[in-house]
């Protein structure tokens, strides 16, 4: 086995993937602006991507906020910063944990579901059937999911932010001796518009990544049930990695002044 040959082959495969993903993204973006607009389908997807993700996102945000408060309180003990629990919780949640936790949870739920649904449609020729019924599959399947995800994620993150702060508030007032009024006042006084908006921008990008990777992997699934399974796994793994990579990039872009 020639090591250069296998490195070369792996590189070619990677480049082919990037090329195909770029083409797919370009086609999808072009389809967003082209008529017709399937309002009914966008509405359905908003329910499936946004509304039904509320419990998962809400619960994880609550526990993350409480754990964050606890860590700051206990860890802060060592250098006497217990008093800044509200400030650090709101900063950590809005800038970082809210978008990332919501993004990863929705990636697990939604990217998987999209890839499984579209993958099944692909292997049972339903996508070919769309074409024969004079309906563009990208327009009909991908565009509504992209639009719904980009709209829903910021809303989900706004809710996750509030619930996360509330999680910190519950722990701080119940077991750390904070008074409710002081906690909320410190939170509101400290948080800036930039903290919140930056998190919402991240959320929109994460939504795009989730829907795109779900659709892309679904459209490229091959074979039968196993192919669909592989597509589902690939959708979750690739969207999670891309979310974390994009999070770093966006953090450095949004806060580098």
């Amino acid at each position: 086995m020639n090591p250069f040959a296998s490195i070369g082959r792996a590189t070619m495969t990677l480049l082919a993937h990037i090329g195909r993903l770029s083409t797919f993204t370009g086609t999808a973006l072009a389809a967003i602006v082209a008529p017709p607009i399937y309002g009914r389908l966008i509405g359905q997807q908003i329910m499936r991507i946004g509304y039904y993700s509320l419990p998962v996102v809400g619960l994880t945000a609550f526990f993350t906020g409480s754990a964050l408060a606890l860590q700051i309180f206990l860890g802060g003990n060592r250098f006497g910063t217990e008093a800044v629990v509200p400030q650090i919780v709101v900063l950590g949640i809005t800038r970082e944990l809210g978008p990332v936790i919501a993004g990863l949870m929705v990636a697990g739920r939604v990217a998987a579901a999209i890839a499984a649904e579209i993958g099944t449609m692909k292997v049972t020729e339903q996508i070919d059937a769309l074409t024969t019924l004079a309906t563009n599959p990208i327009k009909y399947l991908v565009v509504p999911r992209l639009i719904a995800a980009v709209l829903c994620l910021p809303l989900l993150v706004a809710i996750a932010d509030s619930i996360g702060v509330f999680g910190g508030y519950v722990v701080a007032t119940q077991s750390m001796g904070f008074s409710g009024g002081t906690y909320l006042k410190n939170t509101v006084d400290f948080a800036t518009q930039e903290d919140i908006v930056s998190g919402l921008i991240k959320a929109g990008v994460f939504g795009f990544i989730i829907a795109l990777m779900g659709c892309y992997n679904g459209f490229n699934s091959k074979g039968g049930a196993q192919g669909v399974g592989n597509a589902t796994t690939a959708a979750v793994v690739s969207s999670s990695i891309l979310i974390l990579a994009a999070n770093y990039l966006l953090t450095s872009l949004l806060f580098s002044k």
Binding site: P36, T124, Q126, D128, A129, T131, T132, L133, A134
Partner: protein
């Protein structure tokens, strides 16, 4: 009369595997041509090339004399409106009820309102022998024979000029297969359409065709009127229609 569909030297390979190696085929208006051939010989690939789902590597495909080989976008959609297709596995949308499957091309493809589209769907379901209440079922609730009927109703819903049938009787019992064959003959006549079917079921092929072509080794090796198939003088055709293991056709049997 100029041909409805014409394939000239169509070639398609997947990786290193050559599937179509120069297919030449002509379908006359309002005729019914059946392509026969063994499993995996590229019958579905041939139909999908005409539909534009698969892009051929070489060759030309004409529909009503128009070169459609490289059409995309709106121009492709316009040609698509001439076509109806019954897929091998039905390919019904399992997220939609039966009536919406049948009405799909009318609602999404042609922008018809849902109410009148539903009425047409119920009418088409009646044409294939299904009661109106079947319209509210979902595809998972249907038997194999019903799936084919709904697929047929969907294929004829927008009164296409050309209807494609991919293995319409595969997987059905002989009686149901005969019912579907009758439905194909009557609906195609009813709509006044041109039909292009593929099958390896010779009973079906004889019943629904007026011409038969045989695909083997990526080429059309014989074609002629259905009545002439028993006297083709072609050893490949003879072996296929009599289903003999011995003969010039070698099946690739993987160990």
């Amino acid at each position: 009369m100029s041909p409805k569909i014409q394939l000239i030297g169509v070639k398609k390979r997947f990786g290193s595997k050559v599937v179509l190696d120069g297919v030449d085929l002509t379908v006359e208006p309002r005729s019914s041509l059946v392509i026969i051939g063994g499993s995996g010989t590229g019958k579905s690939v041939t139909i999908k090339s005409i539909l534009g789902i698969i892009r051929p590597d070489e060759g030309t495909i004409l529909v009503d004399g128009e070169d459609v080989t490289h059409l995309r976008g709106a121009a492709r959609d316009k040609v698509m409106k001439k076509f109806g297709m019954l897929f091998q596995g039905g390919a019904l949308f399992d997220s939609l009820p039966v009536w919406e499957n049948v009405a799909f091309g009318l609602i999404q493809g042609r922008g018809m309102a849902r109410k009148p589209a539903r009425d047409i769907a119920i009418e088409k379901l009646a044409k294939v022998g299904l009661a109106a209440d079947v319209g509210d079922l979902f595809p998972v609730e249907l038997s194999g024979g019903m799936l084919k009927r709904v697929g047929l109703a969907r294929a004829i819903a927008s009164d296409p000029e050309i209807i494609f049938f991919d293995e319409p009787t595969t997987g059905l019992d002989p009686i149901m297969a005969d019912i579907i064959n009758d439905l194909i003959v009557s609906t195609v006549k009813d709509v006044g359409a041109t039909a292009l079917s593929i099958t390896h079921d010779m009973i079906s092929a004889r019943k629904i065709s007026d011409k038969i072509a045989m695909l083997y080794g990526g080429k059309i090796i014989w074609q002629g009127p259905t009545a002439a198939i028993d006297n083709s003088g072609n050893p490949y055709v003879d072996q296929f229609i009599h289903g003999k293991a011995e003969g010039p056709i070698k099946m690739a049997v993987k160990a």
